[in-house]
Every structure is written in structure tokens, then in C-alpha cells.
């Protein structure tokens, strides 16, 4: 579904990504891993045409991403926010309409009920806590059954209960056929959810393959141990 070929990205003469190539297969959960500043978010932004790559190709279903194209993408970015002065329901309905959801108001109300925000429909989003806002943002991402779901640290800052709830929601989206790219620093999530992964270091693929293959390459270590081994000494 996704092909990244010889991708290079340079900002102000500083090369952040060098000759990166990988694939994400349809229907899999793919872990995009690396320490802070390793180029994960840059890769996703270039894939979604928010950055113009210095060199190489980043394709979704064989074409560069276009918001007007048929492919439905749900993206929970690292830098996330909502319209502060708008109500939760108005914000979700707006995004639902943009994503072509048939009944966005009903869908949003059901989702908010499910994530414990049923009483917050008419609250302004600025009144919500960070965690509550994150639930709204995740709802916006998964509405209209996206074919491709890109989640940049989706459970950052969540307590274990809400983290489990969100992982269940992500798992459901996957079961409905969504291909998922997940950026996370929680290695237990990678081992439990991901089919394959790539570890970026210094803008290059340090390790790439199935979870099993990567673990095998590092002598059967856990992903937590692998992460420390690969990025040990890197400022977290």
C-alpha cells in the first residue's frame, strides 16, 4: 500500500533522512520507530505531502498523497490541536463532513459516548483536558473507516485505562481492514500490535522487517532492550 523509495530530506543544508526505502503492506500494522529527531515525523509528513521530499518517492496506492484523492487517510499528528472556541460536536461534524461521513453527528455522538465524553458534546474543546482532547482527535482520525491510519504517538500521556481503551479502538479499525502506521515509544505496544517495523537511526533504516525477524537479528532481545542497544547514548 505504501512505498517509500530512496527518500532523502534536507532542511537548510542539513540532511535529516538519507536514502530511506521501505514498504507497508495493505492491512498490516507497521511500527515506525526511532529516537527523537530520527526522522519519523518527517517521513510521515513527506508521505502526506506536507513536506516536499528533496529526493525520492513516497507513494500511497502507487500515487503521491492528495487530500482530494479516493484513499481515506486518518492521521493523528504529533503536533495536534482543535478549534478552541468550537464545541466538540461541531468540530467532529466538520471533520466528518470533510471526510465524507454519511451521518457525522450520529457517529460522533456514539463515539464520544463510548470514550466517556458523552456529556461533553456541547463543551468548547478548550474546556477539555489534554487527554479528552486526544480522544476527540483520535475519533476524528478513525471516522469514515480510513484505509490508512497514521498515528504519531497516539497514547502519549494517557493513563493505563484510557491507553487500553484507545488500543482497543485502534485494533477495531485494523480489524475493519485499515492499514496502520504507528509511531510510538512504548515498545510493548510494538511487540503486541505490530506485524512489521522499521528502526530509523541517523536518517537511515537501521533495522527493518517483521517483529520476529528484528528480534532474531538482535539475538532474541525484547524491543525495549533493542531500543536501548540501538539508541543508547542518544538523548531521549
Amino acid at each position: 500500500m505504501i512505498e517509500v523509495k530512496n527518500f532523502r530530506m534536507t532542511f537548510n543544508n542539513k540532511t535529516v533522512i538519507r536514502d530511506l526505502s521501505f514498504e507497508v503492506k495493505k492491512g498490516e500494522i507497521f511500527g515506525l520507530l526511532g529516537s527523537n529527531g530520527s526522522g519519523k515525523t518527517t517521513t510521515i509528513r513527506a508521505l502526506l505531502n506536507l513536506y516536499t521530499p528533496t529526493a525520492g518517492e513516497l507513494l500511497i496506492n502507487g500515487k503521491p498523497f492528495d487530500a482530494n484523492a479516493d484513499v481515506i487517510v486518518g492521521y493523528l499528528p504529533e503536533e495536534r490541536g482543535l478549534y478552541k472556541k468550537e464545541t466538540v460536536i461541531d468540530t467532529m461534524v466538520y471533520f466528518g463532513e470533510l471526510k465524507g461521513l454519511k451521518n457525522p453527528r450520529e457517529w460522533s455522538a456514539n463515539y464520544l459516548e463510548r470514550v466517556g465524553l458523552g456529556d461533553k458534546l456541547n463543551e468548547k474543546t478548550e474546556k477539555l483536558s489534554t487527554g479528552q482532547q486526544q480522544k476527540v482527535q483520535l475519533g476524528i482520525c478513525i471516522m469514515n473507516n480510513p484505509e490508512l491510519l497514521i498515528l504519531d504517538e497516539p497514547t502519549k500521556g494517557f493513563d493505563p485505562v484510557n491507553r487500553k481503551l484507545l488500543m482497543n479502538i485502534i485494533d477495531e479499525a485494523h480489524k475493519k481492514g485499515a492499514t496502520i502506521i504507528m509511531i510510538t515509544h512504548y515498545m510493548d505496544e510494538v511487540e503486541r500490535l505490530c506485524d512489521r517495523a522499521i528502526l530509523l537511526k541517523d536518517g537511515k533504516a537501521y533495522a527493518y522487517g517483521t517483529i520476529k525477524d528484528i528480534k532474531k537479528k538482535f539475538g532474541g532481545k525484547s524491543f525495549d532492550e533493542i531500543f536501548v542497544e540501538v539508541y543508547g547514548g542518544v538523548d531521549e
Binding site: 506536507l50 492528495d66 487530500a67 499528528p77 490541536g81 478549534y83 471526510k99 482520525c141
Partner: protein
């Protein structure tokens, strides 16, 4: 509904929900009504000076040893001297007492005694004696003399064109200048909103998420169109009450004077209206362009000043547009996109814009609007997730080919 339509609806409703929008929307029309209403209330016709002012139920006394009041109203009570007048006010026998100074010819002084408890914050007792004195003086004058003294002569200037036909330079300019004024009001009211339209996407950190649901082009166009539509709503809200006020207050001497002067020149009026439309599009593009380049509202507000300076620059050179042969300054300001709206509208209002220049100006502003709007789209696409100030690059660049 198309994505542009969805953005349009969302943005328009958001603006309509803001109290500040309604305040700015209604401020100008209400201001006009209030101003005209007040001028009507304050206006004093010549005939008012020929009748004595109403003194009402008040007991008013006066000591006028120099004989200022030649024909005193019957209700005015003559008092022997200042001490007696002061005492009568104190005792409540008089509400107001006026003492004309014995040396009035040199001191010009009238002392007013009244009870502090009756006067309140705004004391109108000096106005009352002024009216009494004026009526007294004017009662000796003929109506014609009063017109002269009051400087109330209604001058009628008949301008003749080169063929000897009657024309009116000011009369023909009134409506086109009113259209120019509407443009000014629009940019004052909507300049900031237009700039903030894209800044807030970045400030709220929502741009990255929304650009996977809608293209930068559709988002920018939807936002700009919604604000342009609201601008036209502002225009209607401005024009309709203004026309209503003119009809309602048509008997007011000031208003009837203006109405009598208006010379409806359809070419100039339609010309300025066309300039207003393309100028507003161009201005909307310029404001949103600034918004697309800046990361925060604070940064944007600093740079929007550059756009505003360009727009108001022609006012400094107003004389160049009103009369005389056009010079190099006239042409530069007429065709530099930011200054051209005001320059062209002013020249057109005063009949100094040949038809071919009017057409050229409309085309130029139309092209400038398209270029600026496309630049805005590209800039927003490029800078939507850039959260630091972007220095605009004005030099030649490869990306220009993409326009």
C-alpha cells in the same frame, strides 16, 4: 456538498457565532443613524431664531442694566440687583438668575445663579440665556440678515463642461466616493479576520490534521470565500440602513442638500463598484497570504501593517487623483496592486480616470487577485506546519513557473 462548500459553511457559521462580528457589523450603520439623528435634533432652523425660546415652568430672573435683552420673554422676571437675585435663588423664589455685568461691553460676562441640586451633570442654563439673547437680537433683524449672520447661505455652484452643459464635479463624485468609503470600512472590519483565517489553523495546531482531509487549495478558498461573503453581508448591512436613513431624514437640511447635489453617473458608480469587488478579492488574498506566512496572530498583526500602509498610501497624495493632469506618482499608485484600489476609485470618482484605464485597472486587480490567492494556497501548503516566521522571498525563483 463540495469540500469548499463544507469549509465555507463551517467558517461562515463560526464567524456569525462571534459577538465581535455582530458588533463590528452593526457598529457603522448604527453610527450613521445616530450621527444623522443627532444632527437633526441639534439643527436649528432660521425660523427658530424669530420666536422666543420656551422657558417652560422655570422661574427665571434677570438683572440687565445694560439692556442686552431688547425683547424679553414675558416669563422673564426682572430683578433689582445681583444680591436680590442671589437671595431669591437661595430662597427658591427663582430657579435661575442671570446677572448681566455692568461692564458687559468689555468683560462680556453674564453670571448665572442656580441651585446645584437642580442642575445635574450637564448644565444647560448658559445655553438658555444664549438663546434668549439671540432671539432678542434676531427679532430686530430681517430673515435675510439672519441668514447672513448665521452663515446659512445656500450656495449653488453651476459647473459647466467644455460644451457649456451643466455638470457637477462634487455631485458626480458623491456616490462613487461612498463606494470607496465602503471599501475602507470592509478592510478595517475584515482585514484582521482575513489574516487570522489561516494563522489560527497553525496556532491551533490543527493544520497538519486537516490537510489530510481537505487540500490546502480547497481549505484556503473556502475560508476566503466565507469571509468575502460576510464582507458582502457587511456591505448590505451598511448600504441598506444608509439608504433608509437618507429617505427617513430627507427633510433634514443637511441631508436634503446632499441629495439635491447628487448627480447619478452610472459609469462612475458601476466602475467604482467593479473596482470595489476586485479590490476586495485582492485585499483578501493579500491578508490571507500574510496569515499563511506567519505562525501566530501576534506575528501576523505586525506584518499586516505593511498591507495597510500600501492601501492607505494614496490618501497622502489625494490631490494627484482629484484634480490636474496625472503625473508619475498618479500612475505608480494607480497600478501598484496594494495602492491601486483607492487610487483608481478616487480618480474615477472625480472623473479623472479614462475608460481604458478603468478597464485596465479592473483587469490588473483581477489578475493580481488570482496571483495572490494562488500564492497564498502554495504558501499555506508549504508553511502549514511551519511554526516559525517565514521570510517572504520576492526574488525570482523556480516556483514562480508553477503560477
Amino acid at each position: 456538498m463540495s469540500k469548499v462548500g463544507i469549509v465555507f459553511k463551517f467558517e461562515a457559521i463560526r464567524q456569525l457565532k462571534k459577538p465581535t462580528f455582530w458588533i463590528s457589523l452593526l457598529l457603522f450603520p448604527l453610527g450613521i443613524f445616530a450621527a444623522i439623528g443627532l444632527s437633526t435634533l441639534n439643527s436649528v432652523g432660521i425660523e427658530d431664531y424669530l420666536t422666543s425660546p420656551e422657558l417652560g415652568d422655570k422661574k427665571i430672573g434677570i438683572t440687565d442694566s445694560v439692556g442686552l435683552v431688547k425683547e424679553a420673554p414675558a416669563e422673564l422676571i426682572s430683578v433689582a440687583d445681583e444680591d436680590a437675585g442671589r437671595e431669591q435663588v437661595k430662597n427658591g423664589e427663582l430657579d435661575i438668575y442671570y446677572h448681566v455685568a455692568d461692564d458687559f461691553a468689555t468683560s462680556h460676562k453674564i453670571t448665572i445663579y442656580d441651585r446645584a441640586a437642580d442642575t445635574g451633570l450637564f448644565n444647560t442654563n448658559s445655553f438658555l440665556i444664549g438663546q434668549i439673547l439671540k432671539s432678542s437680537v434676531y427679532s430686530k433683524l430681517s430673515p435675510e440678515d439672519i441668514v447672513l449672520v448665521e452663515n446659512a447661505v445656500e450656495y449653488e455652484t453651476i459647473d459647466l463642461d467644455e460644451n457649456g452643459n451643466q455638470t457637477s464635479v462634487l455631485g458626480q463624485a458623491i456616490v462613487p466616493i461612498a463606494i470607496l468609503a465602503i471599501f475602507y470600512i470592509l478592510i478595517c472590519v475584515f482585514g484582521n479576520r482575513l489574516t487570522m483565517a489561516l494563522v489560527e489553523e497553525k496556532e491551533n495546531r490543527i493544520s497538519e490534521m486537516i490537510l489530510t482531509s481537505v487540500s490546502a487549495k480547497n481549505l484556503v478558498i473556502g475560508k476566503i470565500l466565507s469571509l468575502i461573503a460576510l464582507g458582502f453581508l457587511q456591505m448590505v448591512v451598511f448600504i441598506v440602513p444608509a439608504v433608509a436613513a437618507l429617505i427617513i431624514y430627507r427633510d433634514n437640511p443637511a441631508i436634503s442638500g446632499i441629495l439635491a447635489q447628487i448627480d447619478w453617473d452610472p459609469v462612475r458608480i458601476l466602475g467604482n463598484f467593479a473596482l470595489l469587488l476586485v479590490s476586495y478579492f485582492m485585499f483578501a488574498g493579500a491578508c490571507t497570504l500574510v496569515g499563511s506566512l506567519m505562525p501566530t496572530a501576534r506575528d501576523a498583526s505586525q506584518y499586516i501593517g505593511i498591507v495597510m500602509v500600501g492601501v492607505v498610501l494614496p490618501l497622502i497624495f489625494m490631490n494627484n487623483f482629484i484634480a490636474g493632469e496625472p503625473n508619475i506618482v498618479t500612475y505608480i499608485l494607480s497600478y501598484f496592486p496594494l495602492s491601486s484600489p483607492i487610487a483608481l476609485m478616487m480618480r474615477n470618482a472625480f472623473g479623472n480616470l479614462p475608460p481604458y484605464e478603468l478597464v485596465l485597472g479592473i483587469i490588473e486587480l483581477g489578475i493580481a487577485s488570482v496571483i495572490v490567492l494562488r500564492w497564498t494556497v502554495r504558501s499555506f501548503q508549504k508553511n502549514a506546519i511551519n511554526f516559525s516566521v517565514v521570510k517572504p522571498h520576492f526574488g525570482p525563483r523556480k516556483s514562480w513557473k508553477k503560477f
